[in-house]
């Protein structure tokens, strides 16, 4: 399947990636090459095959709903690029 620069721009927005106008042709071309590679999947009949999401078909184990770790807020917040009074700081969202 071929993709247009507009398709790529739309996907980039979904993925929250900014692609500059000057990079768009090359990004589109290389993106198209990867899609060309995966299009080979259309040549195999899988009508009756159950999709596989875990290689051993294992199911998610559940654990009892009990507290296991202590609140490590200060330590974890130390990695934030900007914070104030223990909260993540972002640009103003609501006027």
């Amino acid at each position: 399947m071929s993709v247009s620069p507009q398709d790529v721009e739309k996907v980039a927005l979904l993925a929250r990636l900014a692609i500059s106008e000057s990079d768009l042709p090359e990004v589109t071309e290389r993106f198209g090459r990867v899609l060309g590679l995966v299009d080979e999947l259309n040549t195999i009949d899988t009508e009756t095959v159950v999709p596989m999401s875990n290689p051993h078909d294992m199911h998610q184990r559940l654990r009892p709903d009990i507290v296991t770790g202590q609140n490590d807020r200060e330590n974890l917040m130390a990695s934030a690029p900007a914070q104030e009074q223990g909260y993540f700081l972002v640009p103003k969202v609501i006027d």
């Binding site: 979904l14 990636l17 990867v34 590679l37 995966v38 299009d39 999947l41 051993h56 640009p91």
Partner: protein, 492 residues
């Protein structure tokens, strides 16, 4: 003991020397740190060194040895791939996004290996977010192959493989999502093991593709990989995909007997596309096993050629979901002066991620987006089952499946950078093993024009022991794994 003997020793021999007090962990650790300092300018294999911390741990290990309190890796220096979270030590994943990231906890692999007494020397360079087969996508610059500084070391665990080959440490860790342990092990002439999916906890390993990622060891011998695998493995309450299956003592289970071992040679791996020199080396290694009593059997994995297409839907799709967490808000890179929240997201991500990572996020987002999910993601998961069933059928008649680890030897920098698809072909023999969740190992099989080639051995689920045994026998009968790059030419 000369530094050279220390720097080329196997874990099992160094372990004995430490126990015999022929060498101290502090001496050994110091020799490794000096080796890193001498060679890293040329190789760029190590991103972060932990010299003081390492020497402290080494002295602790020496005290423990003096008291007779000896675990499986007590006093053995090691380097971790920079994808394993290390409490208080920067963990970059080879990305600008995490250039300043200091985790608040250790990966389970790190905890377990420290618990066995290993001494962490530092963190190894890698392809950004483990996406690459040449180490050229690292934000910290490419790693050079110690066998030829103009060539790539493979990837994504290329820093680990190069460091090991150059004598910086006797043991390194890696992760393998599509070949990232086996392909660099092949290109750098070391032994590398990707365990069965679920064997080793993924807690604290920065996620790429969660249904494919698996951590494993690289070392100078299969015996050393057996020691390290036992140390790393086991169910973990922090990883619900870690397998509730007992971990054998792989080292104790190691033996030389391959009499009657049935080794399958997939027709699809040995077809006319295989480089004749690679074929010759791989077949020579398999003949050595045949002479030792193994039987070579022709088999078929008829859907092998779908592995690349399947992988390049599933891995990017899972990656696009995993990498959504990097938003410039909670941790990681944030752009300068965002005008609003949307601008903050867009610029933090496009400035923080490199080209290959962005490409895979785009492909994955596309494959998961409305209208394409069934055609791409669901379809790929169906083909994944078809590929896995090929292996299940083959393993009804053989114990091990063998083939090349990589299509060729290490290539020159830039050779495959212009075309992402050409780079993806580097993993043509390794990807299917991840899709099927099987264990795979690469062991050296000689040189082509002075550059290493690897033999890949693939095992049944949770049967790492059989491929370790076969590699161990091969390494007992041949000396390909003993070949080393010219170390003196690497040091400045």
């Amino acid at each position: 003991m000369t530094d050279n003997a220390l720097l080329s020793g196997s874990v099992s021999s160094l372990r004995q020397q430490l126990r015999d007090r022929a060498v101290s962990s502090e001496e050994l650790t110091r020799a490794c740190l000096e080796r890193i300092e001498a060679c890293n300018g040329a190789l760029n294999a190590v991103i972060t060194m932990c010299s003081e911390q390492a020497l402290d741990s080494a002295r602790e290990a020496d005290k423990a040895i003096a008291k007779g309190d000896i675990a499986s890796l007590t006093g053995i220096p090691l380097l971790h791939k920079d994808i394993f979270c290390t409490n208080g030590v920067r963990t970059t994943c080879g990305s600008r996004m995490l250039e300043q990231f200091v985790p608040a906890y250790d990966a389970t692999v790190v905890t377990k290996m420290r618990g066995e007494g290993a001494v962490m020397l530092g963190k190894c360079n890698m392809d950004e977010f483990a996406m690459g087969s040449s180490n050229e996508t690292s934000f910290f610059g490419a790693v050079r192959n110690p066998w030829d500084l103009n060539c790539v070391p493979g990837g994504s665990s290329g820093g680990s493989a190069a460091a090991l080959a150059a004598g910086m440490a006797p043991l390194v860790t890696g992760t393998d999502t599509g070949g990232s342990i086996r392909q660099p092990a092949s290109l750098c002439g070391v032994t590398g093991l990707k365990p069965t999916y679920g064997r080793v906890s993924r807690l604290g390993i920065i996620a790429f593709a969660s249904s494919l990622d698996q951590a494993g060891p690289m070392a100078r011998t299969a015996e050393d990989c057996a020691i390290a695998l036992t140390a790393m493995s086991g169910i973990d309450a922090g990883d619900s995909t870690s397998a509730d299956i007992p971990v054998p003592d792989f080292h104790a289970g190691l033996h030389h007997d391959v009499q009657g071992l049935r080794i399958g040679l997939p027709r699809e791996y040995f077809n006319e596309d295989l480089d004749p020199d690679v074929r010759e080396r791989v077949m020579a290694a398999l003949s050595a096993l045949e002479q030792a009593g193994a039987t070579l059997v022709d088999i078929e994995l008829p859907h092998s050629h779908y592995a690349i297409a399947t992988y390049y839907v599933i891995a990017p799709a899972e990656a696009s979901a995993n990498l959504a967490r990097y938003d410039g808000v909670r941790f990681g890179y944030r752009c300068e002066d965002p005008v609003d929240l949307e601008d903050l997201y867009l610029r933090s991500r496009s400035e923080g991620f490199g080209e290959e990572v962005q490409r895979r996020i785009l492909v994955g987002t596309y494959a998961l987006s409305a209208g394409f999910y069934d055609a791409y993601f669901n379809k790929a998961q169906q083909v994944r089952r078809v590929i896995t069933e090929d292996f299940t059928r083959a393993f009804e008649s053989v114990d091990v499946i063998a083939g090349p680890s990589a299509p060729g030897v290490a290539f020159q920098f830039g050779a495959k950078q212009q075309d992402p698809v050409a780079m993806y072909m580097e993993d043509i023999y390794t990807l299917a093993v991840n899709l099927a969740g099987l264990p795979g190992l690469s062991t050296p099989a000689g040189l082509i024009n002075g550059m290493p080639v690897g033999l890949q051995l693939i095992g049944k689920p949770f049967d790492e022991q059989t491929i370790l045994n076969a590699a161990h026998r091969l390494q007992s009968d041949t000396d390909w794994h003993m070949a080393r790059p010219q170390l003196e030419t690497v040091a400045p």
